[in-house]
């Protein structure tokens, strides 16, 4: 078994060029738990020592989040809390303490689990994924990247997520529903971000990829008292005939209330 842990982008590029189909590992919280989740007989490329993947900074009109940033850091970092409150909320409710301390932003995006907690918040902020590919850097809107499988192209890595910012920090929030407090696989999540009246609303765990709830979003922005009803209706539409439909279309109204409560807290703070 071969194992490589590059520390520079140059070494990483070199390793990606030389290795055929390596298994990329960062936090390992997805790869190490499943029986047979680690493929046999393939080289392991450990991204955990790449300082370049640890960036977390404002650059121009974007917040740059390195793919190797741990979830616990996302939850606590003042920049993230200020500019991406929905992401900070999602990170705060992600997995458990132990998982948050290991899991990385890039890993959550790369594995594209239906119940991933970070991607709805990232989508609500129109995040862009920065890949490093054999042909050089490549940027793709997250919404598009998640529709491609595998999400990470061959011989490529995610280097960062970029969150476009528009002027002053905007409100945002993320709420989730599982079977217990934590750790729990999300059964429903809601993320919202934006100026009041122009919020973007994204639901997670409703399908293979996060889904923008346009009707509920309109109701939220109109603030006309139809938000809960719209949420319920849109969730029912999203999963017709599923055994979980009745429950999820009812419980989403609770998440809607929770989301509003959190957004209002944020508005009060801002």
């Amino acid at each position: 078994m071969s194992y490589l842990a590059p520390t520079t982008l140059a070494d990483l590029t070199d390793a990606l060029r030389r290795l055929s189909n390596p298994c990329l590992i960062a936090g390992g919280t997805d790869l190490l738990i499943g029986a047979g989740a680690m493929p046999e007989g393939v080289p392991i490329l450990d991204l955990g020592r790449m300082a370049d993947l640890q960036r977390l900074e404002l650059a121009g009109d974007a917040l740059i989040l390195g793919a190797g940033v741990r979830v616990a850091r996302l939850a606590d970092d003042p920049l993230v809390r200020r500019h991406a409150p929905a992401l900070a909320d999602a990170a705060d409710q992600f997995g458990s303490v132990q998982i948050r301390n290991r899991a990385t932003l890039g890993g959550n995006v790369a594995h594209g689990a239906a119940a991933a907690d970070l991607t709805p918040a990232l989508m609500a902020m129109a995040a862009i994924v920065d890949f490093l590919t054999p042909a050089g850097p490549l940027e793709t809107p997250l919404a598009m990247a998640l529709l491609t499988r595998p999400i990470v192209p061959p011989r490529s890595v995610i280097t960062a997520l970029r969150l476009p910012l528009r002027g002053a920090p905007l409100p945002g929030a993320f709420v989730k529903l599982g079977r217990r407090q934590e750790p729990t696989i999300s059964r429903l999540t809601l993320a919202a971000h934006g100026q009041w009246g122009k919020m973007v609303l994204v639901a997670g765990a409703l399908g293979p990829v996060p889904r923008r709830l346009t009707q509920a979003e309109a109701a939220l922005n109109a603030d006309d008292g139809t938000f809960a009803e719209a949420l319920s209706h849109e969730v029912a539409e999203a999963i017709p005939g599923r055994a979980s439909m009745a429950y999820k279309s009812a419980a989403i109204t609770a998440l809607g209330l929770d989301l509003l409560a959190r957004l209002r807290t944020d508005r009060g703070r801002a």
Partner: protein, 751 residues
């Protein structure tokens, strides 16, 4: 200082928390080979052929075995002695697999990795057969479960028990209130941290040694002998330290196969299941569907009760043939019911087999009975505690199924003192509400046994001896399952012998060294093994005093055991046990020892009353248990810390049973959806409420220093207490466990 009542840390606690404890998987054995078991993807199928050519091409692979090449002896994995009457329907590798997870073939290789890789190269031809996955479907397949020649037909019911006492019809005719309830409980899994594992090795002379984290070495020996068709004397079983069991390791599952592989290969073999196979290829708690009808007098006194329970025991009978009786035995220990009609029916289905799990039948029948009683209290407008007090059995009542005295059973004290300490009336007054979060308070009572008496073999043999180094060795087939029973026994012995618990040298159970014992089951450790310990220690004490009398040229009556040695009652001079051992050796006198066989003469009840507060989110259906009090009659707590530990753990399992846990078998395919900790949710630390433990005063004359069991009863009333609290919060009549958010919202929508 007396060793009794001390919060003595577990003797093996430091080794466990520092990682120094050596479990079976940690053993480094020269030449150890590894087996991997292929399990069935079909709920019911003939295994026509296993093509192993591709797997055997790897030189690391030592052999592939399946039903065509392994012994076909039928056995029952739940027996504890050879010759026990038990239906035999299991085979190491059955030609017809009966559940997803049933054993198809085993690959042995020089490494675990090679075995796993080879497993994927086996080509199996199955002929799928129709499967019976639900109890109603299974119940329709009626017929004798065994043919005249003993061949299993797997028809139902595999066991059925009817019991009638008094005149139930007359009781119902007189009743002012008659209440009927149907309660269902899920299949749940033990979730011990240590997965199933067994290691077998060839011993010189042709015997086979088995190292296994088990609950009974003699039981493993008996099952392996049946499965291999060999003499029990050919099998030598040693218990390894165990990483949790809760009943899951009470039956020999991997051991027969490991032993047979040693016969084939003459090399040490390790068989270990991963988490998914531990879920779907071992044992779990049987599910139940129970209908209860009770007739009450105007004051709430029970006049008659009718119970009909149907238990899904899965693919093999294991102990399912006595489960209806076990449930009845616990059911009738709680309340004074003058007229009773009970029927219990155990059914085969094509789902993973069930077996022992903390309380063995008790949590099922208790959940049914106690949820039912609460709904009855609501209907009659009676307080749940008052209704229970009105019907609670009294000390020294005669338990009607076995006719035994329940001993100094302090159920009423658990109810009244528990209610007072919990502030029941005040808590109850805060129930309900109209907002999103509703608050509820509930409670439940329980009764459980202490050992297997009057069942066969409720006895144990123990030897204690002074070692040359002055420690006292204690040899019996003891199986501490991780809850500290050895520490409790050491405290009992220390109390009698005037030494410290750490001065006892306790061996792991070993069939070559230890007298016969049925193992850790039926809440018998403290009560049975504890009393055996006390009696053996008393006998050893006599021998020690006699020996010291010879050394000191004093009458033994003038000596006493205290302070780690033999003291002169007048002078206070102490001859330490190491000094005594040395002096005896120098004098050419034998070191004192004692062997006692303790046979049970009673089976008293342990009791509990549990009280819970919950908050229910009426929009999501999520429940949080916010406060908890457990009142227990354990007779006397030898080690209050370990008693509390058992109660805390019991509540954790019980909250899971009420709210979260279900292996969730797909009713169309028979596949288990909850076969990992990602998909099988337990109550973890965040879900646990603050817990207060109240031990009521009592004392059981037949128990060691008055002590009784706590291990199983700790989990028995929990689910009903929590469900009753939820029903109190919402005004619902939820009776299907677990109370998933879906079920709660559906009940609210229908209410």
């Amino acid at each position: 200082m007396s060793a009794l009542g001390q919060r003595h840390p577990m003797l093996d606690g430091a080794a466990k928390v520092t990682g120094a404890q050596t479990y079976a998987a940690d053993l480094r054995i020269e030449g150890l080979t590894h087996g991997a078991i292929l399990t069935s993807p079909h709920a019911h199928a003939s295994v026509v052929c296993v093509d192993a050519a591709e797997a055997l091409a790897d030189p690391a692979v030592l052999g592939v075995f399946w039903h065509a090449t392994m012994p076909a002896h039928r056995y029952n994995s739940s027996i504890w002695f050879d010759g026990q009457q038990a239906p035999e329907d299991e085979q190491m590798f059955p030609p017809v697999v009966r559940h997803i997870g049933d054993r198809v073939a085993v690959v042995v290789a020089t490494s675990a990795l090679a075995a796993d890789l080879a497993l994927r190269r086996l080509r199996v031809t199955y002929e799928p057969l129709p499967a019976r996955l639900s109890p109603p479907q299974a119940d329709a397949a009626r017929g004798a479960p065994f043919a005249a020649d003993g061949t299993p037909t797997f028809l139902n019911p595999v066991a059925e028990l009817h019991h009638t006492r008094g005149d139930p019809d007359a009781g119902f005719a007189r009743a002012a209130w008659t209440v009927e309830t149907r309660v269902s409980t899920p299949k749940t899994h033990h979730c011990a941290i240590e997965n199933h594992i067994a290691i077998a090795l060839p011993e010189p002379g042709g015997r086979i040694r088995i190292l296994t984290p088990c609950q009974g070495v003699h039981a493993v020996q008996a099952v392996v002998a049946r499965a291999l068709g060999c003499a029990a004397t050919d099998i030598h079983v040693i218990k390894t330290p165990i990483g949790g069991s809760f009943g899951g390791k009470a039956e020999a599952i991997l051991e027969p196969i490991a032993a047979e592989l040693v016969r084939r290969l003459n090399r040490p073999v390790c068989l270990a299941y991963d988490r998914a196979r531990t879920f779907c290829a071992t044992r779990m708690r049987a599910s139940s569907q129970t209908r209860l009808r009770t007739g009450f007098a105007p004051d709430g006194r029970i006049l008659a009760r009718e119970t009909e329970t149907r238990i899904d025991i899965g693919a093999y009978v294991t102990g399912g043939h006595y489960l209806p009786g076990s449930m009845l035995q616990r059911h009738v220990r709680l309340y004074d019911v003058p007229a009773e009609r009970y029927s219990g029916r155990a059914l085969y289905t094509n789902t993973p087999p069930t077996g022992a799990f903390r309380g063995y039948g008790s949590p099922q029948i208790n959940a049914a009975g106690e949820i039912h009683l609460d709904l009855a209290a609501r209907q009659m407008g009676l307080d749940p505690v008052a209704l229970r007090l009105r019907n609670a059995i009294l000390p020294h009542a005669i338990e009607p199924y076995t006719g035994l005295d329940v001993g100094n059973a302090r159920l009423r004290d658990c109810l009244s003192e528990g209610a007072r300490a919990f502030g029941w009336d005040a808590q109850r007054a805060q129930s309900g509400g109209t907002g999103r979060i509703r608050r509820g308070t509930g409670m439940a009572a329980a009764a459980h046994v202490n050992g297997c008496f009057p069942g066969s073999d409720e006895a144990t043999t123990m030897t204690m001896a002074l070692r040359p180094d002055g420690r006292v060795e204690m040899v019996a087939a003891l199986h501490d399952l991780g809850c500290g029973s050895n520490t409790t026994l050491a405290q009992i012995a220390a109390e009698v012998l005037g030494i410290r618990p750490v001065d006892l040298a306790i061996t792991e159970a070993d069939t070559d060294l230890c007298g016969y014992d049925i193992g850790t089951r039926a809440s018998r450790m403290t009560y049975m093994q504890g009393e055996a310990t006390r009696r053996t220690a008393l006998r050893l004490a006599e021998a020690l005093l006699a020996a010291a009398g010879l050394i000191r040229n004093t009458a033994p009556a003038l000596l006493e055991l205290t302070g780690g040695g033999v003291a002169d009652r007048h002078s206070g001079d102490v001859l330490t046990l190491p000094a005594l051992a040395l002096a005896l050796g120098r004098a050419g006198l034998p070191l004192p020892s004692a062997t006692v066989t303790h046979e049970a003469t009673a089976n008293p009840s342990s009791h509990a009353a549990h009280f819970a507060c919950v908050e229910v989110d009426t929009m999501t259906g999520l429940v949080r248990v916010t406060d908890y009090l457990a009142a227990h009659d354990v007779g006397r707590a030898i080690n209050p810390m370990l008693v509390e530990g058992q109660i805390h753990g019991g509540i954790q399992i019980g909250i899971g049973y009420a709210l979260f846990e279900d292996v969730d078998i797909d009713p169309s395919s028979g596949a288990m959806r909850g076969d990992s900790f990602a998909h099988y949710a337990m109550a973890n630390a965040l879900e646990m409420p603050p817990i207060a433990v109240l031990l009521v005063a009592g004392g059981e004359p037949t128990g060691p220093f008055g002590a009784k069991a706590v291990g199983e009863i700790a989990t028995i009333p929990v689910a009903a207490a929590v469900v009753n609290a939820v029903n109190d919060a919402l005004g619902t009549a939820l009776t299907d466990l677990p109370l998933t958010p879906e079920r709660i919202l559906a009940a609210l929508a229908g209410a």
